[in-house]
Symmetry: C2
Subunit: 141 residues, 2 copies
């Protein structure tokens, strides 16, 4: 389990690391470092923001989490589940949804090939206004 994941990453098993990994697992959302910080505070844990950044960066290096730089300053992290996907981000409420489209993936490879690029990674984010809950119909600039 998590204990093992952390060891495999070559890191010592400590409370902050366990807690953070736990949070990333429970919230199958996309969390910023501050989000994690707030969640930890609420559950009474006293872990510094600096540590959270450090740990999340280590987890990223170890391939345990993914970091995304959507528009608007804060990076967000999600647990790496081994299933590639891209993102839809609501510019009104911040909601993030995931999707995967084989046709798009294939086209990207073709494009890279055509331009003689050896593809390493890609980032596809669709920004829009979602139609769920609070966001429904509320639209302005």
């Amino acid at each position: 389990m998590n204990n093992q994941k952390i060891k495999n990453a070559g890191l010592k098993v400590t409370l902050p690391r366990l807690k953070i990994l736990e949070i990333m697992e429970k919230n199958n959302k996309h969390l910023s470092a501050e989000d994690v910080y707030r969640i930890l505070m609420k559950s009474g844990e006293d872990i510094g923001l600096g540590t959270i950044y450090r740990v999340l960066t280590q987890f990223e290096t170890a391939g345990l989490v993914l970091r995304h730089n959507f528009e608007g300053g804060q990076a967000v992290f999600e647990l790496e589940r081994g299933v590639h996907h891209d993102h839809l981000v609501c510019i009104k409420c911040g909601k993030v949804e995931e999707f995967m489209d084989d046709t798009i993936e294939k086209c990207q490879n073709k494009v890279a090939q055509k331009h003689h690029f050896k593809i390493k990674d890609h980032s596809l984010v669709i920004y829009g206004i979602c139609n769920n809950g609070d966001c429904k119909g509320i639209e302005d600039e």
Copy 2:
């Protein structure tokens, strides 16, 4: 010409704005604010970095330039030429190429529709290693 573009944006025609717009036009590249700053310094102009950020932001608002947040801190700007395209970025040499793929565009719309998102914008960046000049074959992590 540029004079008019600036007026149409509701801005006064000043030397800094003219110079910056000129640079964006000459270099059909993707420039960071600092790039613009360096170019201005070299040509003897004495324009503050703050002004460059301010002007580029105003140009962005006016639709004269586009701002991209590729990985790695600095935002880059390019002249808006009215032709939509996405980007290939070389993670070794920083080279940026543009492409446009109708199939991908269409798929994105379908995806947005399926998720009940009213699409406003999207960002597709393919990161890889280009095969041109300095970059050829040079590959490491």
